[in-house]
């Protein structure tokens, strides 16, 4: 049991470190380090421009999408090299947030199911951050129950083999700045729901695609509704066989799980720092026994997640594939972040309600975190879905009894019908 690199890993780390040291946008480091737990916000520059510039620079030097094959814009690196890159990239890694869905999910899906020609066309600009991708999965009637989606794809009758898409997606992160997307549709409503799905990819500029940002509860707009009205796609943009979309989507979602190593923030270090500065009736908050009990509980969740990540990295280093046990990361971090934000407000008493960065402790970050954290517990699998995953795939408990099993999709009762 040790934290040491093998000689090969150490040599790779040294190479990474010296390249990052020579090339990273160091003037943003301090700001990136403190913006991690409430989303990237940069005061003087356009985050998108900075993110694209850093990604392009990495790509030109062969440091983008390390685990992808070289011919598709990657480096052909081993999983452990990718982890080392992530550790060394540190706060600059937050800039890749814009590309994470493309690199983590769309890219691997294209790699597995697109034609050779398509892969050579689309993957390198995706790796270089020149083209941004989104994932068009969730729908108003199909969130946790993704396979309940209703967006229809129908073959045209003109013999061209083209498809006509009609329907609506929702919660599409970054659709408003994306160039391409992967899209799951229903091609056969007469069979049970998992069997009638088909995957496509498309340009977000295709006629008939309309993107409407969703104004979120916290006032931001990171997600979108995407409407499809008679959108015509050639059959060449289909990924996988007709009716095989569920299996294709599982490839996408499995890759999401592999995107580990960076670990999720809980906000604990920031809270600890606040408690060392805020005075209460009994002196500094950090010296109050009741505060200490809360802090300790959040501390061990934070360190537990960190060392859980180290165990996963060790497994990768040994050539193993991380499994569903890594679902605990977001489950624990999401609710901890919310509890911490609420407690940080509580410590500030009346002043805790203010959001002006100049008037609040920690520049208003806890207030932003308070308003953002409910989404963390829902996006990318709700707390409840993650508990189901742990119960079913880690502990081996039976799946919930499904009343819609073996029922043709168009006969399943829904609230929308």
């Amino acid at each position: 049991m040790n934290f040491d690199d093998t000689p090969e890993e150490a040599a790779f780390r040294a190479e990474v470190r010296s390249w990052i040291d020579a090339n990273a946008p160091k003037e943003l480091r301090a700001e990136l380090e403190t913006s991690g737990f409430a989303g990237v916000s940069l005061s003087d520059v356009d985050p998108m421009a900075v993110a694209k510039a850093w990604q392009k620079k990495k790509s030109d030097a062969g440091w983008a999408c390390l685990h992808w094959p070289k011919e598709y814009g990657g480096r052909g690196a081993t999983p452990i090299e990718r982890v080392i890159w992530g550790q060394e990239e540190g706060p600059y890694g937050a800039l890749a947030g814009t590309f994470i869905i493309g690199h983590g999910m769309c890219g691997p899906t294209m790699m597995a199911f697109a034609s050779e020609e398509q892969k050579r066309r689309y993957l390198p600009p995706l790796a270089a951050g020149e083209e941004i991708w989104c994932q068009l999965f969730s729908e108003p009637a199909g969130g946790s129950d993704l396979a309940g989606l209703r967006t229809r794809a129908e073959r045209t009758a003109d013999g061209s083999g083209d498809w006509i898409i009609n329907g609506q997606k929702i919660w599409t992160s970054g659709a408003h700045y994306s160039d391409y997307g992967i899209l799951i549709t229903r091609t056969d409503p007469n069979v049970p729901k998992h069997k009638g799905l088909t995957m496509f990819f498309l340009s977000m500029k295709t006629p008939g695609v309309e993107i409407r940002p969703i104004k979120q509860a916290n006032g931001d707009s990171g997600f979108n509704e995407v409407y499809f009205t008679d959108v015509r796609l050639p059959d060449a943009q289909r990924l996988g066989a007709v009716g095989d979309g569920w299996r294709v989507s599982l490839t996408t979602l499995m890759n999401e799980r592999l995107s580990i190593g960076s670990g999720m923030s809980t906000g604990f270090p920031e809270l600890f720092d606040l408690c060392c500065r805020v005075e209460t009736a009994n002196g500094l908050a950090v010296d109050d026994p009741a505060v200490r009990q809360k802090l300790a509980t959040w501390a061990i969740r934070t360190t537990g997640l960190k060392y859980n990540g180290f165990r996963a990295i060790s497994a990768i280093s040994r050539g193993e594939t991380p499994g569903p046990e890594n679902s605990i990361g977001k489950l624990v971090a999401g609710s901890t972040m919310q509890e911490i934000a609420m407690f940080a407000e509580e410590l500030q008493a009346q002043a805790g309600i203010m959001t002006d960065p100049d008037l609040t402790a920690a520049s208003g970050r806890f207030q932003r975190m308070l308003l953002r954290s409910p989404a963390t517990r829902v996006e990318g699998g709700t707390d409840e879905i993650l508990r189901n995953i742990i119960a079913e795939r880690v502990l081996g408990l039976p799946a919930d009894i499904r009343v819609d099993k073996d029922v043709p999709f168009n006969q399943i009762p829904t609230s929308a019908r």
Partner: protein, 377 residues
């Protein structure tokens, strides 16, 4: 990075599990629960024969001369099996005190016996209810004689030797606390077994009246030694708790698969699944914190005090959480004497207090983080 036990260490764990499955099935634990004996003497002897009582003890004293990672994997198996033996008292505490501060003669006199199971060691600390602090250590040391009473001494009724914290300078200062080694079979020592929430681990009140004692370590160094050894014992006990938590979770999972209600396995209800998922999460957090503690303990890292407190807190929470919800998943059957659920519930609540309470360790963790931050600043 290799944040995992080695194949050899895992093999040692597997060997310990096989041994305990054969020598310490639930019936063995139950025999101590229901019978007059304070511990299972045959199991204790067997653990000595396997070398498990001297894993970290140098070979010159009859030990195996291995490291703390090896001791951690064995501790986990003892926790899974709820082994009704004085392992923690004798190995995590008495042996550790001797290794940390014993003179050559004291080590020579006691370590070989502790390693071979010929003798049992214990640690006598608390004198009053509530958290132990330097001011609660008032048992008087006069020269080489001790006078006073220690309460809830784990294995005090069966031990041959005790490490006793006593006051060598009046007042309430930590510097007035020193450690002594007492042969419990000598005159001047009386002991009375006490009943506890977990009869599978014995406890006693020890009364000393001019009892002969030898200093262990330097005078006035007692409190520091207690803190140091408590941190080490916290990591080792955390592995016992991790083992217990995992076993309680497995029992609950197995029962949820087997038990039918409303025409289906109860494990198919989300209320049960989510409870089990939360148990898994707490056990996983405990294991990962425990691994870090094991790393710090085995390498003598400066991070040990924080790592030990984290391991202790996470493991205490996990074992209590898994043990109480194991009963909940079992429903009414879980509250019967015949089912083993209560054995885990009892042990989890015993281990939650045996090295100080959860809130004491929470307080210690935050104080240690604070000290580190102010040193860095």
């Amino acid at each position: 990075m290799d944040f995992e036990f080695s194949d050899d260490q895992k093999q040692l764990g597997a060997e310990a599990r096989r041994f305990l499955q054969a020598k310490c099935p639930p019936a063995t634990v139950r025999a101590v629960l229901e019978g007059p004996q304070a511990y299972d003497a045959a199991l204790w002897k067997g653990l000595g024969e396997m070398g498990f009582l001297g894993i970290v003890v140098p070979e010159q004293y009859g030990g195996l001369g291995l490291g703390y990672l090896e001791l951690c994997v064995v501790a986990e198996e003892l926790g899974r099996a709820l082994a009704p033996v004085p392992f923690s008292s004798s190995v995590f505490l008495a042996t550790e005190f001797l290794l940390a501060a014993g003179s050559a003669a004291q080590k020579q006199a006691w370590l070989p016996k502790l390693v071979s199971a010929e003798a049992i060691g214990c640690f006598a600390f608390a004198e009053t209810g509530g958290p132990v602090s330097p001011k609660t250590v008032q048992l008087a040391a006069t020269g080489d004689r001790l006078t006073g009473t220690k309460i809830v001494v784990a294995d005090g009724d069966i031990a041959d030797v005790a490490i006793v914290a006593a006051r060598t300078a009046s007042g309430s200062d930590a510097r007035g606390v020193s450690l002594f080694l007492v042969d419990l079979n000598a005159p001047g020592v009386t002991r009375g077994a006490v009943e506890t929430i977990d009869p599978t681990r014995s406890h006693a009140t020890l009364t000393f009246k001019d009892a002969p004692a030898e200093p262990l370590g330097d005078a006035g160094d007692g409190w520091r030694l207690v803190s140091e050894v408590s941190d080490r014992a916290a990591v080792l006990t955390a592995f016992e708790q991790i083992g217990g938590a995992d076993r309680a979770l497995e029992m609950a999972r197995d029962y949820a698969l087997e038990r039918m209600a409303f025409g289906r396995q109860i494990g198919s209800f989300q209320a049960i699944k989510h409870m089990l998922a939360d148990m898994y999460v707490s056990a996983a957090l405990a294991r990962s914190n425990g691994y870090y503690g094991a790393w710090a303990l085995s390498t003598g890292a400066a991070e040990l005090p924080e790592a030990a407190a984290s391991a202790r807190i996470a493991a205490t929470q996990a074992f209590q959480h898994c043990a109480k919800n194991n009963i909940q998943v079992h429903g009414g059957m879980g509250f019967t004497w015949a089912f083993d659920c209560h054995l885990f519930y009892r042990r989890s609540n015993l281990l939650a207090l045996n090295l100080g309470s959860l809130s004491q360790w929470q307080d210690a963790l935050i104080q240690r983080m604070r000290d580190r931050n102010s040193q860095a600043a």
